[in-house]
């Protein structure tokens, strides 16, 4: 398989976006860089940028490895990506509005009805509800992979509660602290205004009941959540309160937070709690993380919940395979960003194809996330393949399959020098009634193990700073 390395071109020459960086790197002493790499890790540990790994002891906090070699994207490459991302997010929001209202896309037969009717992610309580400004996904993360100079594919849309933006910001902060000279040689588009933009974007989505300057708050499941650091980080940078379910209750028809001076209403709640746990009165009654009655207040226009409940129907892996149709249906344009070809195992022909080629494919659970419960055919043992075959036959509708893409690589810095590793990219997109804002860059996740294609932090992946160059 031909591997595309974003720094070293096919004939060993350094690709253009990396040229200035490469010249700088050539003059650097590897020992100094090694020291810098260690310094970066100490910095992260001290700041407390850790995440808790699911399924392990509550208190265990781990550091996500950070690599000091940036991933660099040219202005021209980014322009096309940005347009594609914006188009996709617009389509996702139009789709969500439609699917919770007249369902024209089903009537037109562009998406089969059973993709929605049999889908747990479809939230009936959202039927007929129009969030302020028609914005459903205030924050979206679009996972992209690359296989060649101009070949970007969308791997996954994250329209529920995408995480990782704190790493994007801290990675840049760390690079700026450690290599200030680099940034004077190269003009890199800043990402540091993300929290300000986020706050503005959320405030612009305030509900009808809001009077005066909107009060924004971040809802976290608590300090043991794997992304707690990020929740605290974003609340801190936005200058808003970080609340938990038990800080909130319904007071005077609004959702209000318990302050030292009494209850104060919240206009926009950036929640990092899943739908099911959001409201024990209306959803999972055992949830201790939510606010009983928040959905009632939401439906009555007393609060904006970001992202809106029920957005999971748009980033479901089964719906994903229809995204090209969805983009065309709502925008009337050809999709700028391609999907990875996807076989839906609930279709008989596809299932047969998948079973016959299992060792070459990646099989994912329709509702899974974080790289759990997936099969990477080329890396799987015979036993694993047999096991997955059984699972596929038992519940074909639960799976989709994709070809193993030859993901692009970017070098990481190792003790033995530079070594190519596979990467993906998650740009973050803000949407409000005022418009769409794509932060230049995003989070580059990198598989730290040689040859590995799994970039998830929960499975040992690391991160890199992502540079989008100025024009």
């Amino acid at each position: 398989m031909d591997m595309f390395d974003e720094m070293q071109g096919p004939r060993g020459q350094v690709r253009e976006p990396f040229s200035t960086f490469d010249a700088w790197l050539g003059k650097e002493d590897p020992a100094r860089l090694r020291a810098k790499q260690r310094e970066a890790e100490d910095l992260f540990r001290l700041t407390g940028i850790t995440f808790n790994v699911y399924g392990r002891s509550e208190a265990e906090e781990r550091l996500i490895p950070f690599d000091i070699i940036p991933r660099i994207i040219s202005a021209r490459e980014w322009q096309r990506l940005e347009r594609g991302i914006e188009q996709r997010v617009r389509a996702i929001n139009a789709f969500l509005h439609d699917i919770y209202h007249r369902q024209e896309v089903l009537r037109a037969g562009r998406v089969p009805q059973e993709m929605i009717s049999g889908n747990e992610a479809f939230l009936p309580q959202m039927i007929g509800v129009t969030p302020p400004g028609g914005v459903y996904t205030h924050i979206t993360g679009i996972d992209l992979v690359r296989t060649g100079p101009d070949d970007f594919f969308v791997l996954e849309d994250n329209a529920r509660t995408p995480s990782g933006v704190s790493y994007m910001l801290e990675n840049r902060e760390t690079m700026l602290r450690m290599f200030p000279e680099l940034f004077s040689q190269t003009r890199v588009r800043p990402v540091s205004d993300y929290p300000r933009n986020l706050r503005r974007s959320l405030a612009a989505s305030a509900p009808p009941a809001c009077e005066g300057v909107p009060t924004v708050a971040v809802l976290t499941p608590g300090i043991y959540n794997s992304a707690y650091y990020e929740h605290a980080f974003l609340a801190d940078k936005m200058g808003v309160e970080l609340v938990e379910g038990h800080d909130l209750r319904v007071v005077d028809g609004r959702v209000a937070m318990r302050t030292t001076r009494g209850y104060q209403p919240i206009d926009v709640l950036y929640r990092r709690v899943d739908d099911d746990f959001l409201d024990p009165l209306n959803f999972n009654p055992d949830s201790a993380l939510g606010v009983p009655g928040i959905m009632d207040v939401y439906r009555a226009g007393g609060i904006t919940i970001a992202n809106a409940p029920g957005t999971g129907i748009s980033d479901d892996k089964a719906i994903y395979s229809y995204m090209p149709e969805i983009v065309e249906f709502y925008t009337g344009e050809r999709p700028i960003l391609q999907n990875v070809p996807t076989w839906r195992c609930n279709e008989k022909d596809s299932l047969e194809h998948v079973l016959a080629n299992l060792s070459e494919l990646v099989v994912k659970e329709v509702h899974g996330s974080g790289g759990y419960g997936m099969l990477i055919g080329p890396a799987a043992s015979r036993k694993e393949l047999r096991e997955f075959e059984r699972k596929l036959r038992a519940r074909p509708g639960n799976y989709i399959a994709q070809p193993t893409l030859s993901l692009s690589t970017v070098p990481i810095f190792t003790n033995k020098g530079l070594a190519p590793r596979h990467v993906d990219l998650r740009p973050f997109v803000l949407m409000s009634p005022e418009g769409i804002n794509v932060t230049p860059g995003g989070l580059t996740r990198v598989a730290m193990k040689k040859g590995s294609l799994v970039v998830n932090s929960s499975q040992g992946g690391g991160t890199k700073d992502t540079w989008v160059l100025e024009d």
């Binding site: 919770y100 209202h101 007249r102 369902q103 089903l106 009805q113 009717s117 009936p124 309580q125 959202m126 039927i127 007929g128 209750r249 319904v250 007071v251 005077d252 028809g253 024990p280 009165l281 209306n282 009654p285 009983p292 009655g293 009632d296 207040v297 439906r299 009555a300 007393g302």
Partner: protein
């Protein structure tokens, strides 16, 4: 015919309740053959927070407990004008797609018991089959109060062989959906013949029949609803149509007493 309704639900708690919410669906639905002449809801011990129409077009009101109450009283009273429609509610309306009413819920997931009932169902058309189904559910589950639990599923009721109107409705719904027909739960009031005092609110089911629209089936009384039936709320099952659902903090035990009068005015 005019029905005057006076419905009081009194909750008492073994200890002061620090906080909680009650979500109530107690406003009769505008329905073919049913006109609300006058209706008022008052609550003691809690304060109204918000109201809205949900995706089943039920009028929902959310109340918040007043701090430290030990008693909460919900009163609804009013007058409803009723006309006979032979149990036919009419075409499906609203944004909620019909296919949603074919979705199984936790309370209405058909298992062995329901499927067995469905296998025996006979009839030349959907309507006939639904009437037959209603009779079979009536036969399979004896109406008995005080021996079932509000959390019972359709299968629980079939297994027990007895239940209340809620269980009859759930089993009917689970079976109708298994037969490929959209079905829903209805909570409301029933004036039992010749008596003003009613022991409780009532529940029945509706199924959607091509050409007719929604048709009501009161399994417990083995008939289709007539002018004595006031529709209040509908949903996929009890949890979506219940007159009151709540969420409370604190360790207090709850006790509930209902008084309900449905009188005929003309």
């Amino acid at each position: 015919m005019r029905l005057a309704i006076n419905h009081t639900t009194r909750y008492t708690y073994s200890a002061p309740v620090p906080y909680g919410v009650q979500q109530i669906r107690l406003y009769p639905k505008p329905t073919r053959g049913q006109t609300v002449v006058d209706w008022a809801i008052t609550v003691e011990g809690a304060t109204k927070q918000v109201e809205f129409d949900d995706h089943h077009r039920n009028h929902v009101i959310l109340f918040g407990f007043d701090a430290g109450v030990t008693e909460l009283v919900i009163r609804s009273r009013g007058v409803v004008e009723m006309a006979d429609t032979a149990g036919i509610v009419g075409p499906h309306e609203g944004l909620t797609p019909l296919w949603l009413f074919q979705r199984a819920t936790d309370h209405t997931r058909a298992g062995k018991g329901c499927r067995e009932i469905v296998r025996a169902v006979e009839g030349d058309n959907d309507l006939a089959r639904l009437h037959d189904l209603s009779a079979r559910v009536h036969g399979a589950i004896t109406y008995e109060t005080g021996k079932s639990e509000v959390v019972w599923t359709a299968e629980d009721a079939v297994a027990a062989g007895h239940g209340v109107c809620q269980d009859h409705a759930h089993v009917f719904i689970a079976c109708a959906r298994t037969m490929g027909l959209p079905a829903r739960y209805v909570s409301g009031y029933l004036r039992m013949d010749g008596q003003d005092e009613q022991s409780a609110t009532h529940a029945w089911a509706e199924a959607h029949v091509e050409g007719l629209g929604w048709v009501g089936f009161d399994v417990s009384n083995a008939i289709s609803p007539d002018t004595r039936y006031v529709r209040v709320a509908t949903g996929l099952d009890y949890t979506e149509a219940a007159p009151v659902i709540g969420h409370r903090y604190g360790p207090a035990e709850e006790n509930m007493a209902v008084s309900l009068r449905v009188t005929q005015q003309q």
